[in-house]
Symmetry: C2
Subunit: 344 residues, 2 copies
């Protein structure tokens, strides 16, 4: 009888770590492999190609009972472009592979690709290839994205230095609260299909969940301001989880301030309505696709008036001290509770 | 009531054509998009990056009741490398995304990745990224591959010229017959689990099905011989189907000779045993992953002694006359019967 270990015991990150452990790079053009938002491949002496990929599975990553398929197409591209933005680079090409069951009509596929094309247009990305096949159940979307950057402009998770300033863009927790709202309305609808949900007050959060944007604008703004982030990552699994990626890769610790964490007022109010702590939602809710990055103290002045960049804390040298300072001045250890599809 | 058209009516190629129709390229680095074995992206003035992707779905592309998962990992990489070989280029990096249900153990994933790593080593390709997620049913593998070539060395489907010689490598129909053998043994086993199948005489074909190799060796041999194919494609859907891709893209016609089509003697004998026509199997059986290419007449001398390259016919200018000359000298129109997962 063969030994059998369950993947749920390892979890998604454990499995990735396990698979990553056996990998070595042999081509001189493979500069950086697994472990950041994108792989880095040498193109010319001073320019690199970035390569990243994401897979979205129906029933795991999206629920078509409330996600319009056009938005799903847009979001699939946006989250991939976000991985390139997180390297401080510009996305240029994508490939899109889909597997779909006969539940899907040609019109549904058209709507999905209309969303994909809209995102391509919005981000200046070309759809250059893909694969189309049938599946035995549901829809699977696999996108790969190629980006480009000057070699010395690429921002890694590992570059955070002591005394750097921690920055985050936009606001957090909105996409998570949007998901809560959509899930609740689905239950209400299932119980009574005649109920007309009043979604107006949740519009912002639902939009954050259904149609997130990659923050390419920030990449351009930083370039224009002459600021190269010392480290960067996109917020897909939640602020806390991404902070841990940065501190682990950089060998540092972080201190962040509760009152600096950007939360939209509707997100705040809706969290309270759902009996959830708004700060916990901002720390651990995923899918905002904002950028989290560190900058040298010397650069702070250059972007201090940017309306969408928030300074939330700083980097220090005590590796295992990652803390949140509450509004009351209490020091609370940070915990990563990023989403794990195998455990979830 | 919304209009609903079935994808099965369009078929896989129809769907791809439909999706492709709306795509335009905007980045100057996007040299060639959808429509060949790989997209072509400018890297330097004289060097290009090739990008291709493939998705394999359990129950559609493979059956784990007779495919060892280690071989599946190897094959997933090989078929992607084959797409780069088909551009007359060298594969350098891949990303591997998998979605898997809790039916799969950690040991099964380890075996899959052992196969993936073995193929990476065999082809000198680096695994640089990927995604790992859960699925509601079965295993899905999505691989993207990046290759590299001098811009003037890239071979497209569209370059076949009148009077060019048609070449094919290895032998054809073996992978298809291997699949027939495996499917028959599965039925025998299901009927009586105590039956011990005698697979020895089918070993070659089963190997062709389970562990195909990308013909990177041919790419190197052609380079060494100083031969640049005028057009090239890999044989994944069957010789006839690939010939039609070349003639359609190149605006030419082809004439091939039945007695020149390379068929291994065990493939021939097994086809007869299965009451199948061996030539039909070679023409329409897929998954051999050999290379089909055209060369200028002037280059024929340079590779005429290559033991694994066969001259099967030539290119002419009558676009709609694609014919097979039988051993008896009869002229038969070629028909493409490539596999269609949506119709099949």
């Amino acid at each position: 009888m063969e030994n059998r270990s369950e993947i749920s015991q390892l979890g998604e990150f454990g499995l990735i770590e396990r698979l990553r452990g056996n990998v070595t790079l042999t081509n001189p053009t493979s500069l950086v492999g697994i472990g950041d938002d994108a792989a880095v491949i040498q193109a010319t002496d001073d320019e690199c190609i970035l390569l990243s990929t994401d897979m979205l599975v129906e029933g795991v990553h999206f629920d078509l009972s409330y996600v319009p398929i056009h938005h799903l197409g847009y979001k699939s591209v946006a989250v991939n472009v976000s991985d390139i933005a997180a390297m401080n680079a510009k996305a240029e090409q994508i490939t899109v592979s889909i597997a779909l069951s006969n539940r899907f009509s040609v019109e549904a596929v058209d709507a999905l690709y209309a969303g994909i094309r809209a995102a391509c247009e919005s981000y200046g990305v070309d759809l250059v290839g893909g694969d189309t096949t049938s599946s035995t159940s549901g829809l699977i979307i696999s996108i790969s994205v190629m980006g480009r950057a000057k070699r010395d402009q690429i921002a890694y998770r590992s570059g955070a230095k002591v005394n750097d300033i921690l920055c985050v863009t936009g606001d957090l927790g909105g996409a998570f609260m949007g998901l809560q709202v959509l899930e609740r309305e689905k239950q209400v609808f299932l119980a009574d299909p005649n109920m007309q949900p009043d979604m107006e007050k949740y519009e912002y959060m639902v939009g954050r969940q259904l149609k997130p944007e990659a923050r390419m604008d920030i990449v351009y703004d930083l370039l224009e301001a002459g600021v190269k982030p010392t480290s960067m990552i996109d917020v897909s699994d939640g602020l806390a989880s991404e902070l841990f990626h940065i501190v682990k890769s950089s060998g540092v610790g972080v201190r962040i301030y509760e009152d600096k964490i950007p939360i939209d007022h509707t997100t705040y109010e809706t969290a309270v309505e759902f009996n959830l702590d708004p700060v916990t939602c901002a720390l651990n809710g995923g899918e905002d696709y904002e950028l989290l990055f560190t900058i040298s103290k010397d650069d702070q002045e250059k972007i201090k008036n940017h309306p969408d960049i928030h300074f939330i804390g700083y980097v220090h040298d005590r590796k295992d001290q990652n803390v949140l300072i509450t509004k009351q001045g209490t020091v609370v250890p940070l915990r990563a509770q990023g989403w794990d599809h195998f455990k979830g």
